[in-house]
Subunit: 553 residues, 2 copies
């Protein structure tokens, strides 16, 4: 395990896949260093020189990490950890189409992991040319469709243009696309709006449909398998609303699905776009899952800017020096805080209202990827896998949960995200500073206060400090920057999975709940059809629970 | 500390205020019991009898807790803990106006805590008649104002009625009111809409203002001190937009503020409503902070229903038997999971899209109250105070972070919230079940799967189980139920603080960040005015950080 990253041939590199986290010498070294981590509260600990040198940059995004509890020995050990685990070598194998979504010796998905191929179309040479060509073909279909909308070649039955699009999808087909659309609303095509129906809660769909002119609305139904319960249910609800309005759904409905899925049916959809097995839901924002609505809402050129930014970060993630690779460094700092300093959660706090749903997307991307208990060889983990990801935009959060981050009994590492300029540029000098300056000043003040703390003779006004944070900073939240930020976090999650030796690409943990829900629904359906299944309730805890909640006291 | 709750005179009860958590015999007992907590995965562990009997009810809300890792000895010890800490006795003192917001022997806010008085107006006898009378007077002012809007006695300069209201506030003046408004959107007055500007991010205000007809919009500015930076900044931004539109702000702006605050100025506001020192921001939803917008958006009768529901739960929280007091029981189960079973977070997962922001409100209410490090006597805590609260609505979350909850290396206790019927009643039978049935079946299936787990010969498909959850279930999300649910969680947080012996009502932890931000802003303002402060940057980490992030690479 001592070879340096990216040098070995295929055989050498494959040995990384079974390299256990706690068997690396870097693991031992980090454990030793964690006994006395860097003290940010010591006088001069946060020197201007440290602030200047603890900074990594790529694709327009700066990572400032002087307020982490790291010093040169820790950074050297983290660099070593990256090399011993072959993090970058595995990343390159991923980009080349290696079958990384698998558990050795057990039934598993057995798929390559190629979300990067969606944006490799901008790379001088794609590492996965076949999948990049597929992605490019779908993008061109989309470009044609958007141009036809623009030109008035595709209109509704009354000859009017479409103004609205409803995305019907859940999980990866909802969170990431929604986060990016909200983030970039400042770049919208005037008069166009995008809406989202995700929850099986009928009130969710009803609330959206109540506000729409269906005649001028497209409906984009997204499900790779074509069999997602919530999405099919909501599609039916929306189709029924179209029928009630006397409108023909096949003139309004689009499908994003796998080739050959039950939804791959031209008779029912105006257009179909394909998603491929090598892209998991939570990594699918830059595939057709996000592209259709982002192209409709923001226009095709802005969509390409998002992909371009993501590609730039994907390329930067190939850099073996951790101080020049923000995604890898963020992954390693996360592991330092989680596995060595014992912090179970990570707060991601964007100082940008536009990023209001970005943390929710990352919560999915990270926790569904890293919430695992076995290695890629099916052995129980002897170390912690992923932390809990949570957060809300600042400065709002400052008036909510920051009290606990500053003075609670749990240490919460923080990743702040900020921008030097606002999106709209509509700002106002109050007391000689702009709102954007207030936003950035608050972000930095929080990082500082968490790190250094402050003693006070009133114990209730004392701050212990040594609460680690990192600052991600970019010029402005543009489509390019958004793409880069998305890819940075995708790469971070993937790197951590490589180091923990887990499969970051499956989600077997969602199956049991699905199965049990199915059984309860079969029971309800049977009851509706007049079959009496009540007797079963005596033994079955699920049915007993169902009987109990149905009873009012 | 062995007296039973609520019996002692004032002197006896006051001793509870200095009763340390780890000095109670119940603490010792629970520590012993935690070595072998109830095994939910054992055959028959989740029996129908257990499911039936582990259920507490009040104000239309059922708490089902069979899927917690508790049994009769644990429940008995939790009952004992409630009694030894005088949880209910302290709750009654709070309702009577005792000065509970204080730290003995140190400078502190020294205030009573009387959010319950806002709804005690429905109680046969208010325990704090003076504050209840104040609350009632404000409610009557609001009723008059709403009636005048309704009758067309208050209109805009063109004689048109007001259709929209923008709430300008942050933290407690934003999260709770917003959560309740979104929760009850199904009950809105047709044609009325409420909007929120909270973040100092200028894009937030710009995005809202872009979509509004200012001439028909009221602006409700909420700040107790009248000096909240974000709120004043946003008020100025909005006033400027009115000026640009040629509209006179004093015909549109309302104020909710403390008597005598800088905002208490009739020349600048159409109406002013008062909030009082005894109600903290995070407990202020049922004061004028929430009442003005809820009354405007939903109508005065629905507002009263919210208060009525909250009052019913406040009364139920006086019950000393924990099995008949859902708020107290939920508080104790939380302490069992957090302090004795070692779980650092709590996920609150409503199976209702309408509750999309309720968890964010609870995150504030709980974490700002319980994120403390010293006792009410100013001693460092020798036990953990509040957990991290997070979550998103189901079933969405099932497709996001549930993977980690089921199969991750961290145990996450869950509180599910569900309803037997939907709000809109717009539903559809698909495969013989309604969407609402699918929602409830999924909720129960998750609770079940987390509790019982399931072995599998494929280790990647195994579920360890023994992951605790509780289910809160009500008939339908009405204004009354929403009020009861809000009060349930407020009381839960307060009970936990009483037991941990912390001051749940201050927030000194937000001060340092504010102070440091102020310094950075002073520096920026001085620079804009041409004073050169750059030399300081050499020593000051804050200014060094500011200089560094301003620099592009």
């Amino acid at each position: 395990m001592e070879q340096s990253a990216g040098t070995g041939g295929q055989g050498v590199v494959e040995s990384y896949f079974s390299c256990d986290f706690n068997m690396m010498t870097a693991w031992t070294k980090l454990g030793e260093l964690a006994r006395a981590p860097y003290d940010l509260t010591a006088p001069g600990a946060l020197s201007p020189a440290r602030i200047r040198s603890y900074r990594a940059q790529a694709a327009g995004i700066d990572l400032l990490y002087a307020t982490q509890r790291v010093d040169e020995p820790v950074l050297a050990a983290l660099q070593r950890l990256a090399e011993q685990s072959g993090a970058v070598a595995q990343f390159l194998l991923m980009k080349r189409g290696e079958v990384l979504n698998r558990i050795e010796g057990y039934a598993s998905e057995e798929r390559p992991v190629l979300h990067t191929a969606c944006r490799d179309i901008f790379a001088p040479v794609s590492l996965a040319p076949e999948v990049s060509a597929q992605a490019k073909a779908e993008l061109e279909k989309l470009a044609d469709f958007l141009a036809a909308l623009e030109a008035g070649a595709i209109v509704n039955v009354a000859g009017e243009p479409f103004t609205d699009l409803v995305q019907v999808g859940i999980g990866g087909s909802d969170l990431g696309p929604r986060a990016l659309y909200l983030a970039l609303a400042a770049y919208k095509i005037p008069g166009r709006r995008v809406h989202f129906i995700s929850n099986v809660d009928p009130d969710d769909a009803a609330a959206i449909l109540n506000g729409l002119d269906l005649a001028r609305t497209l409906v984009n139904v997204v499900s790779k398998s074509g069999s997602t319960l919530e999405t099919l249910t909501n599609e039916e609800l929306v189709r029924q609303a179209y029928a009630e309005a006397g409108l023909e759904p096949s003139r309004h409905f689009l499908a994003v699905t796998g080739k050959g899925s039950p939804m791959d049916n031209p008779a029912r959809y105006l257009r179909s776009f394909y998603m491929f097995d090598s892209i998991g839901g939570r990594y699918s924002v830059t595939s057709m899952v996000g592209a259709v609505l982002l192209g409709f809402g923001l226009g095709y050129p802005q969509l390409l800017e998002i992909l371009r930014g993501a590609n730039a970060m994907d390329l930067a993630a190939e850099e073996p020096d951790i101080r020049r690779n923000p995604a890898l460094l963020l992954a390693l700092l996360g592991i330092w805080n989680h596995n060595f300093l014992g912090c179970e959660t990570l707060a991601i706090l964007p100082y940008s209202q536009a990023l209001v749903r970005f943390t929710a997307h990352l919560q999915q991307c990270d926790m569904e990827s890293s919430g695992k208990s076995v290695t890629r060889q099916g052995k129980p983990l002897a170390w912690k896998s992923g932390p809990i990801i949570w957060g809300e935009p600042g400065t709002n959060g400052q008036h909510a949960f920051y009290q606990l981050i500053h003075q609670g009994t749990i240490i919460v590492p923080v990743e702040f995200i900020g921008f030097r300029a606002s999106q709209y540029g509509r700002d106002l000098l109050i007391e000689q500073t702009t709102s954007q300056e207030k936003l950035v000043a608050n972000l930095l003040a929080q990082a500082l206060a968490l790190a250094t703390g402050q003693a006070n003779e009133n114990p209730n006004r004392s701050f212990a400090g040594n609460r680690p944070s990192a600052v991600l900073m970019a010029d402005r939240l543009t489509p390019y920057t958004m793409g880069a930020l998305l890819a940075l976090y995708e790469a971070k999650v993937v790197f951590q999975g490589f180091i923990w030796n887990i499969n970051s690409f499956d989600q077997e943990g969602v199956q049991l709940g699905k199965k049990l829900a199915g059984r309860l629904l079969d029971h309800l359906a049977a009851r509706r059809e007049g079959q009496d299944g009540a007797a079963e309730a005596e033994d079955d805890p699920g049915l007993a629970l169902l009987a109990e909640v149905s009873k009012k006291v």
